[in-house]
């Protein structure tokens, strides 16, 4: 099954898949950042694969000079009963990726969460507001350079 996924993708997008990794029958693909929407669209609408559900979408801060952030997409195909993981790299200076909420509307809140925690912006997202933190909060708490106890006075308390 894993080989079939790779073959079908490679036939359609010869340059988009940069790396593939298999661990205990779970397939992880690294996709070119610009091509993510294209690939996702294909994965969802292809009749053989039919990855019709986005289980999760999250960010990772690898804290390295090149491609500091990753965005991870966990997909599931109800038809094939198969999980698939996609990863893309995001630069620190220009943390903008295209939204996949146009493909699966379930990605909407996951992308908002990723934006809230890592500051990765999703281009074309219908409503990119913060998810957990107050809307006037200026920092991104899950970045590795954010102190555990927060930035003093960045979250005001009510007057005593």
């Amino acid at each position: 099954m894993n080989q079939e996924i790779i073959q079908r993708l490679k036939a359609q997008f010869p340059d988009s898949i940069e790396e593939s990794d298999e661990f205990r029958d779970d397939l992880t693909l690294r996709v070119k950042t610009e091509d993510i929407v294209k690939v996702c669209n294909f994965l969802k609408n292809d009749h053989e694969l039919a990855f019709d559900m986005i289980v999760d979408l999250c960010g990772v801060d690898m804290y390295r000079p090149e491609g500091r952030f990753e965005v991870v997409y966990n997909l599931y195909s109800l038809k094939k009963k198969k999980y698939l993981r996609l990863k893309i790299l995001v630069d620190e200076d220009n943390p903008i990726v295209d939204t996949v909420s146009v493909v699966w509307s379930g990605a909407n809140w996951h992308e908002r969460e990723t934006y809230d925690m890592y500051g990765i912006k999703f281009k074309g997202h219908p409503d990119l507001r913060r998810m957990y933190m107050p809307e006037d909060f200026e920092y991104f708490p899950l970045r590795k350079d954010f102190p555990l106890m927060g930035i003093p006075d960045s979250l005001p308390l009510p007057r005593k």
Binding site: L148, P158, K160
Partner: protein, 180 residues
């Protein structure tokens, strides 16, 4: 103050403060500010096994305007702190606060950026309850401690000297019911 003396003479003497406090402490209506796991133990306290109504506090009200004591049961985040404070401000005087559990009292195990490290940073607290979560007996004990505290309060003196009583400057009579 026992009722025994009433049987013989039909009257008794006491201080007005005492009568008022006696009435207040035995009918504390809680505001159940249950915002995480501690709230489950608070519900258990209200249930038949522990039965908070033995101490006159079974009337949990979900509107702050009818409450006397706010039981903050759970983890208070910075985002939630504004809401907790707002509900506290909406409770009429006299009012008291029980901070239930490690989270509300000190941030508990959540020593991190979103959690307020103790609700006494933004509102007055009368009794702290230890535990994660505290057992219902512990909450009942806090209630009894609060009752002891209320017994000693000056009630009439405060009224006369204008202490603590807060009268809003405007709109005090606005919105009073004019129903037909």
């Amino acid at each position: 103050m026992g009722l025994g003396s009433l049987q013989h003479d039909g009257f008794m003497t006491t201080r007005l403060d005492k009568v008022i406090n006696w009435a207040r402490k035995n009918s504390l209506w809680p505001m159940p500010m249950g915002i995480s796991c501690c709230a489950i133990e608070m519900m258990a306290t209200a249930g038949p096994r522990f039965d908070i109504s033995r101490f006159g506090s079974e009337v949990m009200r979900f509107t702050p305007r009818q409450c006397d004591v706010m039981i903050v049961a759970g983890t208070v985040t910075y985002k939630m702190a504004k809401v907790v404070r707002k509900i506290y401000d909406q409770m009429p005087e006299p009012k008291w606060v029980i901070s239930m559990g490690a989270c509300a009292s000190s941030g508990g195990m959540f020593r991190s950026y979103p959690v307020v490290q103790g609700i006494d940073l933004f509102m007055p607290v009368d009794v702290f309850v230890a535990g994660c979560p505290p057992r219902p007996e512990n909450l009942l004990r806090a209630l009894l401690e609060l009752q002891k505290k209320i017994e000693k309060e000056r009630t009439i003196g405060k009224l006369v000297h204008g202490e603590r009583i807060h009268i809003p400057e405007t709109g005090a009579t606005e919105g009073a019911s004019t129903s037909a």
